[in-house]
């Protein structure tokens, strides 16, 4: 048992993926209404809460306060009840617009930077010989499941001494450090399964390990790189803990999750802001989810053990 799913495994929700069209030997297609209704009921209840805030976010604040969101279905085509104003308000006066930009500022470098560093290390672990390799790799695997809480107090103090608190550089570096064990492990799993013949024939042709890595290994590892990139992107985007500790809640640095949490605290009954705000914070993950489903699932599964 390994608590990490191999990124190469064809697990996906993608309908175009042939592996997904296949039924399991156990699951034969059935007309049994109990099965079909159960599937429908579970899927329905799983979607209902999200639908509630999505619909509410387009309703007039007074309507949200006075009636349940499901009542829109009584007269859904009455255009007067729909509004985009909540989004305007939440983006400007409630600070979610700035927070959205801050989320991008934090997430993009925190996703891009660890990939290079991890790819070199993973290649060395997979294809180069050096003393202490197995011990170092065991440490990497051990660090995979270390709770992030174990690192916060010393880092908070260190950052205080260095003046890194509240600075974007500080959180990029922190997310790089926290993401590396997973990145190395995931890329190692993929790179180490590349065929021997390819790597060796490159060496026979006189390619140095560096050239082999940049010209051959990196391009071939694209699926694993993409899986990690998506996982890390979502992890950083959705993270609250690291952002609170290293960036705080000041308006210059608060990211979406921190700002949304701030709104819950200060305007907890202003549902027109909370619903639209929540949806603003969800829109990027949802786009990533629908656009890159195949890599998304692999990355998420492969990385779900991260500390």
């Amino acid at each position: 048992m390994t608590a990490v799913v191999d990124p190469g495994t064809a697990i996906s929700l993608d309908t175009t993926d042939p592996a997904m069209r296949r039924r399991s030997p156990f699951g034969r297609f059935t007309h049994n209404p109990v099965v079909r209704i159960s599937v429908f009921v579970i899927a329905f209840f799983w979607t209902l809460p999200t639908a509630g805030i999505l619909i509410s976010s387009f309703r007039e604040p007074n309507d949200i306060r006075s009636s349940g969101w499901w009542e829109v279905f009584v007269h859904p085509f009455e255009t007067g009840q729909w509004t985009l104003e909540n989004y305007g308000n939440v983006l400007s006066s409630a600070g979610m617009g700035d927070a959205f930009i801050n989320s991008l500022v934090v997430t993009i470098p925190a996703t891009v930077i660890p990939i290079t560093i991890a790819a070199f290390a993973a290649y060395a672990f997979a294809w180069l010989r050096f003393p202490g390799k197995s011990l170092l790799f065991a440490i990497v695997v051990g660090l995979l499941v270390v709770p992030i809480q174990m690192t916060l107090v010393p880092l908070l103090r260190l950052y205080g001494d260095l003046g890194l608190t509240g600075n974007f550089l500080g959180i990029w570096l922190a997310h790089t450090g926290f993401g590396l064990p997973l990145a190395i492990y995931l890329l190692y799993n993929y790179i180490s399964t590349l065929p021997h013949e390819i790597i060796e024939s490159a060496a026979v042709d006189g390619a140095s390990p560096f050239t082999t890595f940049t010209r051959l290994v990196l391009p071939l590892s694209f699926p694993a790189l993409a899986a990690f990139a998506i996982f890390q992107f979502l992890w950083v985007w959705n993270d609250l803990l690291v952002a609170l500790v290293f960036l705080g809640t000041g308006s210059r640095t608060a990211i979406l999750t921190a700002q949304l949490n701030e709104l819950v605290g200060s305007r907890g009954e202003d549902w027109h802001l909370l619903t639209s705000g929540a949806f603003v914070s969800m829109v990027v993950p949802l786009v990533v989810f629908f656009a890159l489903q195949r890599y998304f699932v692999r990355g998420l599964l492969a990385g779900s053990v991260k500390g």
Binding site: S24, W46, T50, I53, I113, A121, V245, R252, G277, L301
Partner: protein, 389 residues
């Protein structure tokens, strides 16, 4: 030594020197990049300098006089960070590698792996290994020292509630996610448009815990009796004849309502992994069972479940680790009030609000101890597979 050899020797030395200088330059550039990124004003200065460099004097003056747009600074900062972070690291690797290529072959073989490993090792050292050791040290030295910190963790009444709640979370949350995930995976296997149906259950996994907390606060929201209920749960409850309930304050059931959010998030994960595992069950096994006249239910429990045992354990462990560290949901929903405290939330408050670093460290150590068995099993499996040797 012939003159040819000497010449070759000299050119090699020169090349080594050249790449050595380039390597140092890469290090210096990274350093400068970090210094610039540390100081927001330096970015503005850089923009002014760039404008002057390309001859846009007017623009540069305008910035010096009226300041610069916040958004633009942030954009430049991100681009600069990616340039430094990715470009700088690549520059370091390329020059370092060239330097090694220019050295004698024995040294080359020994040095190269370390060049590839070192940046990663440095990050792991600073961000994981050092803090890990330091946290353990702080937990026995800070505040009242070992005795005080750990007796607080183990005996404080508030902590006992937190420990109880974490246990509740772990048992109910993990079981709930795995059982519903497995159930849905088995059911969805037998209907049309399988992938489509799965999307709905999987979707919450993409949403942040804070977003999920807002979604569910809306489900649980409460209005006094007589007022129209806008929260779904209270609407159903009052329609069935009950009095409106403030679900998040209903001790001890409020814990269950919080755990439900985690189940809502994690079930999708369990479902996807287990669904893939179901598809990997050998056909012969199932067919043999059917020929022997087993019912579908018997088949499921006697044949299919034992076959996917590995996947079940993987899923359960993964969700266990995620739930152990649960923080955001409690932090946003109740802040740990109304007897909903959990270890990670308390740890955050001890660290960030009360600045009791010793207690916070001791709480973190408790979380670490809980994952150590999993860590050991993972490393052992690694050895068995011969990975990394």
């Amino acid at each position: 030594m012939t003159s040819n050899e000497r010449r070759a020797q000299r050119s090699l030395t020169r090349r080594t020197l050249g790449w050595g200088v380039a390597f140092l330059a890469a290090l210096a550039l990274l350093w400068i990049g970090i210094v610039v990124l540390l100081d927001p004003d330096a970015i503005t200065g850089m923009i002014v300098w760039l404008y002057e460099l390309v001859g846009l004097r007017g623009q540069a003056f305008a910035i010096a006089e009226r300041g610069i747009q916040e958004g633009f600074i942030r954009l430049v900062t991100v681009v600069f960070a990616i340039l430094v972070g990715v470009g700088g690291v690549w520059f370091l690797f390329i020059t370092g590698n060239a330097l090694i290529e220019a050295s004698p072959s024995r040294a080359r073989r020994h040095l190269r792996p370390w060049l590839f490993i070192l940046p990663a090792a440095a990050f792991l050292g600073v961000y994981l290994v050092f803090p890990l050791v330091e946290t353990i040290r702080l937990s026995v030295t800070e505040d009242g020292g070992f005795g005080d910190n750990y007796s607080f963790v183990l005996t404080d009444p508030a902590m006992q509630i937190a420990m109880r709640n974490n246990a509740l979370w772990l048992v109910i949350g993990t079981t709930g996610s795995v059982v519903i995930g497995l159930l849905f995976a088995a059911l969805v296997d037998r209907v049309k448009r399988e992938a489509f149906a799965k999307t709905f259950v999987f979707l919450p996994l993409a949403i942040s815990a804070v977003g999920a907390a807002v979604i569910w606060r809306f489900v649980y929201t409460w209005r006094p009796p007589g007022a129209g209920q806008i929260g779904m749960l209270n609407a159903v409850w009052t329609a069935a004849g009950g009095e409106p309930v403030a679900f998040l304050q209903a001790v001890p059931w409020n814990n269950l309502f919080l755990i439900l959010i985690m189940i809502w998030i994690q079930t999708g994960f369990a479902m996807v992994v287990l669904s893939a595992a179901l598809k990997g069950v050998p056909t012969e096994l199932v067919e043999a069972g059917r020929i022997d006249g087993a019912t579908e239910i018997q088949l499921f429990f006697r044949v299919v479940l034992p076959t996917i045992r590995g996947a079940l354990i993987t899923v359960a462990t993964t969700i266990f680790i995620a739930i152990l560290k649960v923080f955001d949901i409690v932090f946003v929903m109740t802040g740990g009030r109304f007897e909903t405290e959990v270890i990670a939330n308390r740890m955050f408050n001890e660290m960030f609000r009360f600045r009791n670093f010793g207690r916070a460290s001791a709480l973190a150590v408790v979380l670490l101890i809980a994952v150590i068995p999993i860590m050991i099993v993972n490393i052992r499996n690694l050895r068995r597979q011969g990975i990394g040797t």
